[in-house]
Amino acid sequence: MINHAEIDSELIPILDQVADPEIPVLTILDMGVVRYARVKEKEVLIKITPTYSGCPAMDVIGDDIIKAFKEAGYMAKVELVLAPSWSTDWITERGRNALEKYGIAPPLEAEADKAALLGGQKIVKCTLCGSTNTKLVSQFGSTACKALFQCEDCHEPFDYFKCLK
């Protein structure tokens, strides 16, 4: 389901209930932060990796995972791993679609991201009207993972999920 991650299939439905607290439409599986989840006699070991080093959501995600597994009758232990470091490439197709519907433009390719953030090319699509006639307002947005954009056609301000790889 997610590249490089080792996840036991019986755990997927439980992990899929846990959402990113900042972006509730995105589950942690869609986000690609779950790197390892193995179960042995109702004891589960989960390894998650942070999106950004300072992301305050990671502590909450850890607590939410433990809670979700407790409710499903498991004892879960959560570890934070740094390597390999998270990449926006790990966001699933379902996650990208959910982001766009929620009003956050999904990350572009690394090179395209650079062009978009430097204002060189208009390629970030407005989440409201779909126009690519958009402009960068700020490279840094409401959370560490986002930049601020505005549509020049419908004037909608929106978030763009910055590429990280």
């Binding site: 942070p50 740094l82 700020s138 490279q139 840094f140």
Partner: protein
Amino acid sequence: MENNNLYNYILGIADNSLILGQRLGELCGHGPSLETDIACTNISLDLLGQVRSYYQYAAQLADDGRNEDTIAMMRPEREYVNVLLVEQPNTDFAYTMARQFLFDVYHFSFLTQLQNSADNTLAAIAKKSIKEVSYHLRFSSDWIKRLGDGTEESNKRIQNAINDLWTYTDELFHQTEADKQMISEGVGVDTSKLKEQYYNEVSSLLKEATLEVPESKYFQKGGKKGIHTEHMGYILAELQYMQRTYPNLTW
């Protein structure tokens, strides 16, 4: 502790980010515009996040009850080994961006090398951090260009800031005993090899921003040995206030 040099080496990296993160955090709600306010605090958050990884690792090495919080909050001033550059005050937005730029160029090239460290944890932190720092460098470089090539006033201010902060750049490349030991073990980054590239990169961007490259050869030092400028005490007073007033306070 078995590996005092590694512990000190980690602090040498992390203290820079802690103090710079604290300085940028001061702008929360006080930035010159909403966007720059958010940007500075975002960068602060990245730096503090990276610091947590370093201090957690240091605490694990110390293995004597110290944790990331006590390392961050409970040391006396003389035990902080950050460079003098990062403790310089925000003064105005030109100073904030000049300080950021002069640090980011160094930070990016340092992390590029640290990714190859023989120490797996440091290499992992570097690989994680460099993705974030590339955004910091892009942001501060943009502002140097914008201010330098902006109005007469913005040019004057950013030139003053660069001239004033220039004196703190050489210290970035000074090596402590812990640095030398870690370099010899393949764990640390040989910063002497980064110096020429650093000044080349900084100079070329300053020229692009229609700014003059300072010629002064007089440089300040001391931070890496725990001897700080007068600003440091005020930073720590704010940083440590809660832990000093309510020891062992937790969220």
